[in-house]
């Protein structure tokens, strides 16, 4: 596919990397000559230096033949205008824009082919907030992914010593957790995805990705040694877009404290929130934190705009006795660096945003794409369409589908919330199939598999 990416920030870079690996033709437009040059050195892409929403720049970037425009510059207005321009002048079929300001996003009427013609609005703040709230729901989980409107979830965790499943074979799991159905999608041992069979033994130190119904997750996590009680007290460092949204979504269920440095912003946030204690001060101010009983906090979540401040304040919070600390880290290089340090979870808004954009770029009816941080692996939800004649999957039993190497079908969600694990299930139309791909390069074969052949109308 011919794809134009507008922007030279980390999201654009992340997107470029993934799309290049999947053999798309990518052109990147941005203002920063140096950044673009570095991208061109690293990947097989074309770069254009210029203002991303100017018509002649878009034309130079090939907007006339492009299949898709992805506007992810840091400026909402530029993104919107760019989509509008390429729609009006070059009839680009698919336009995705990153819009951060909630003020725009609230007005659904703004977006449509006759108004501001953006097909999909991506809001990193919202996606990141959702992501963090899911992590807070399950203490100990490294990643939590939603499928089928949140009825099914995939959780990545490290099994801890003391869990009943440690040292057990995969085939024995069912016997230990009292009839709960779950499926282990993969185990990363020393950063390599293992080839699983019934004989694989779960060890501490693994990273394990499993799939089960939402209501059972906590029990399963206990079986993996995560005996922590439910999170109650949460401290958020930074009252920006993400911090504010996060407090808003959490304050009903948890005790939330939010630290914000800027007086005006703190006032504003305090005004908008009802149950949150808003503190005015520096996130790395030890006295303030100790005064506010930091040692009793279950989660410390640093979401300021500054990577370094987030990392440092998280390290300090961990030392001061917080159970779980999470840092928002924009730079991809830092994300890898933090992995396995004192900081429990590094949240990369880029990776999360890229995932939500990928869901729209992929062919076929792919509804969710999540990239596992630090790995090339992806988990995907795809809807099967067609019938036995036109589709390669519909009407075939799961274990009869010829899957390419490195692709696993985890489960099928039928109807509202029937989660089906049985390998002899015959896939029906409109089933949602949950797939694990060891390497994002292999995702193209999933796309092909689920594409309905041309004879199907």
């Amino acid at each position: 596919m011919q794809i134009i990416i507008l922007g030279d920030n980390e999201v654009a870079k992340g997107l470029t990397e993934t799309l290049c690996n999947e053999d798309h033709s990518v052109t990147i437009v941005g203002k920063d000559r140096e950044a673009l040059h570095a991208l061109e050195e690293a990947f097989d892409v074309r770069t254009i230096v210029g203002h991303p929403s100017y018509p002649n720049i878009l034309r130079q970037a090939g907007a006339e033949d492009a299949d898709m425009l992805v506007a992810v510059t840091d400026n909402d207005e530029v993104n919107m205008i760019a989509c509008e321009v390429s729609h009006a002048l070059y009839q680009t079929p698919m336009k995705i824009a990153r819009i951060r300001a909630a003020e725009y996003l609230e007005k659904k009427l703004l977006f449509g082919s006759d108004v501001i013609s953006i097909d999909v609005c991506i809001s990193p703040e919202k996606t990141v907030t959702d992501h963090i709230s899911r992590l807070i729901e399950y203490p100990g989980a490294l990643q939590v992914y939603d499928f089928a409107e949140g009825k099914v979830r995939m959780v990545l965790l490290k099994p801890y010593y003391g869990g009943v499943l440690i040292g057990k074979k995969l085939s024995e799991i069912a016997g230990f957790i009292g009839g709960i159905t779950l499926r282990v999608m993969t185990i990363f041992r020393d950063d390599v995805s293992l080839k699983l069979d019934g004989e694989t033994i779960i060890e501490t130190g693994d990273e394990l990705l499993f799939l089960c119904a939402r209501k059972n997750i906590r029990k399963v996590m206990q079986a993996f040694g995560h005996l922590d009680s439910v999170n109650k007290r949460i401290m958020i460092a930074g009252g920006g877009g993400i911090g504010f949204r996060l407090a808003q979504s959490l304050e009903a269920k948890y005790q939330v404290k939010l630290v914000e440095q800027d007086t005006h912003r703190a006032d504003h946030v305090a005004n908008e929130l009802s149950n949150t204690t808003v503190l005015h001060g520096d996130v790395s101010d030890k006295k303030l934190l100790v005064n506010e009983n930091i040692e009793h906090m279950d989660v410390f979540c640093a979401v300021t705009n500054d990577d370094e401040a987030n990392i440092m304040s998280c390290m300090q919070a961990k030392r001061l006795g917080v159970r779980h600390v999470m840092a928002l880290v924009k730079r991809l290089a830092y994300v890898d660096l933090i992995e396995g340090s004192e900081i429990d979870i590094a949240i990369s808004p880029q990776q999360i945003t890229v995932g939500s954009i990928l869901a729209h770029i992929r062919k076929g009816d792919i509804t969710h794409v999540y990239t596992l941080p630090g790995h090339l692996a992806e988990v995907i939800e795809v809807v099967a369409h067609g019938d036995a004649a036109s589709s390669k999957v519909v009407g075939t039993a799961i274990n009869k589908i010829k899957l390419p190497h490195g692709i696993e079908i985890g489960a099928v969600v039928r109807g509202e919330s029937d989660l089906i694990f049985e390998r002899d299930t015959i896939i029906e139309a409109e089933d949602r199939v949950l797939i694990f791909a060891e390497d994002s390069k292999r995702v193209t074969s999933v796309e092909e598999l689920f594409q309905v052949s041309a004879t199907f109308v």
Binding site: E41, D44, R46
Partner: protein
């Protein structure tokens, strides 16, 4: 340095290159010229050694770093030239020693067109065709071809492409993906070659000649298929066709592609480098024609035009075809034409030389310095068309011209030390460094009678010229080899 990756790529390209003996073998079977053996041996050698390099490392996938690209490209040119020399060396009818065979092969691949052979038309057909074919392969670049057809090069492709493509705008891609760009360039190249061959045939050449001559026309090579080059045909029509296609090959192939895609012929004129290129040709042509007329070199004005214009275009595009003995032209003309060859044609074309764009930039930069002396506080940007150029482009231009002149001076002095006179040495170096291929004074007919040492120096000069010196010269700097 990722030697395994480098050996793997070179092995593969060598295997690919072995295909080049297929047509000559067929030729020699058709014409029974007895050159089948040497070509079969060459092909088997290339295939076997390429396979030995590639097969053990076929699963070794590592991305090339920028500096690996320079090594790969230089090695490809040296290795392929060596193998390409085998048929010349092995065929008894040609009877060349190692030096001559290597010189001829390099001259072919680098599209220089300087030849050692006299009595070209008496060569076996296979050898004759093979010389032209080498020019065809070298014209657009073997590595660019490899990037186009070998998916295995992957991301490293850009590094290789940049190290081989001539001209100051090495980073500009026609399409987002490098393989598509390389395919587009080869597509245009083949279309031009086919049209050229067809036109020659219509104008009266034999099929064999038409194909052969078109190969070296579009590659701006200059290997002719007869001793007397284009004078052999005595045909104004053929000369005119040749002029047209040499001119087209001197234009950036990226520009051809854009025009082809958008189908707007005015785009040629909007390209600034193209306009300067045209002006250079017109200016030099006017000077040449008036000098020829004043000195009554040819009996009629028609002859002046046919010979004068042909030679100007042939030299300006660094092709090196001749339809007259221009080295005997009066006064300053031969040397002027050598300088025109040194300037060369547009960047991104198949021509050699410094390139029009760089020369224009050089002039603009000098003008700017003069203006600065008059208005010390004024701000002047170097513009090409309406666009101000980034300072890196200007710096790169200075760097290139500096190194070009230095190389030029050193090589001329070395040749003089080996016993050539100034004019011959000057001409020989322009011929090889700018890939022109036709000289004046001592090298006006062929390079047959110069010493073996001089031939090796000139061989080096040809490869340096084709790879725009830096790619080759880099390998001799300690920094390149430091970890």
């Amino acid at each position: 340095m990722r030697f395994k990756a480098i050996i793997r790529i070179i092995g593969f390209i060598l295997m690919l290159f072995s295909v080049s003996v297929v047509v000559p073998i067929m030729m020699s079977l058709i014409y029974h010229d007895g050159a089948t053996g040497p070509f079969v041996i060459t092909g088997v050698f290339e295939l076997a050694l390429g396979f030995l390099g590639w097969f053990p490392l076929r699963n070794y996938r590592q991305q090339l770093k920028t500096r690996d690209g320079f090594l790969v490209v230089t090695l490809v040119w040296v290795v392929l030239s060596t193998f390409a020399a085998l048929p010349f060396y092995l065929t008894p009818e040609v009877g060349m020693n190692v030096t001559d065979a290597f010189f001829e092969a390099v001259s072919g691949l680098t599209t220089t067109g300087a030849t050692i052979i006299s009595g070209i038309q008496y060569l076996p057909h296979a050898i004759l065709f093979y010389r032209q074919e080498l020019q065809f392969l070298g014209g657009m670049g073997i590595v660019v071809l490899a990037v186009a057809v070998l998916p295995l090069l992957g991301i490293g492709g850009m590094q290789l492409y940049r190290a081989e493509t001539p001209g100051p705008m090495k980073d500009s891609k026609l399409t987002p993906r490098i393989t598509e760009t390389a395919k587009a360039l080869w597509f245009i190249y083949i279309i031009l070659t086919a049209t050229c061959a067809f036109s020659y045939w219509v104008a009266g050449m034999t099929v064999f000649d038409a194909i052969g001559e078109s190969f070296s026309t579009i590659a701006t090579g200059g290997f002719a298929m007869h001793d007397s080059s284009f004078a052999f045909y005595h045909s104004n029509a053929i000369d005119i066709i040749c002029m047209l296609f040499m001119f087209l090959s001197g234009i950036s192939f990226a520009l051809h592609y854009t025009v082809f895609q958008r189908r707007r012929f005015l785009d040629y004129w909007y390209d600034v480098e193209f306009r300067y290129f045209v002006w250079i040709i017109i200016t030099v042509a006017v000077i040449t024609l008036s000098t020829l007329m004043i000195n009554h070199v040819y009996p009629s004005f028609e002859d002046d035009v046919m010979h004068g214009l042909f030679t100007v275009i042939s030299l300006a595009t660094t092709t090196g075809f001749t339809n007259s003995k221009f080295s005997a032209w009066p006064t300053f003309l031969p040397v002027l034409l050598m300088w025109v060859g040194m300037v060369g044609a547009c960047g991104g074309s198949t021509a050699g030389g410094i390139k029009v764009m760089r020369c224009v930039l050089l002039c603009k930069q000098s003008m700017r310095e003069m203006k600065r002396l008059i208005h010390p506080n004024a701000v002047y940007l170097i513009k090409f068309g309406k666009q101000a150029l980034p300072i890196e482009t200007i710096e790169a231009m200075w760097g290139f011209i500096g190194i070009f002149i230095a190389t030029f001076a050193v090589l001329t002095l070395v040749l003089m030390a080996l016993g050539m006179n100034l004019l011959t040495a000057f001409s020989a170096v322009v011929d090889t460094l700018a890939n022109v291929g036709v000289g004046i004074d001592g090298v006006s007919d062929s390079f047959e009678h110069i010493g073996a040492a001089s031939k090796w120096v000139l061989t080096l000069s040809m490869i340096a010229g084709r790879l725009e010196i830096f790619t080759l010269l880099l390998l001799f700097t300690p920094a390149f080899w430091q970890k």
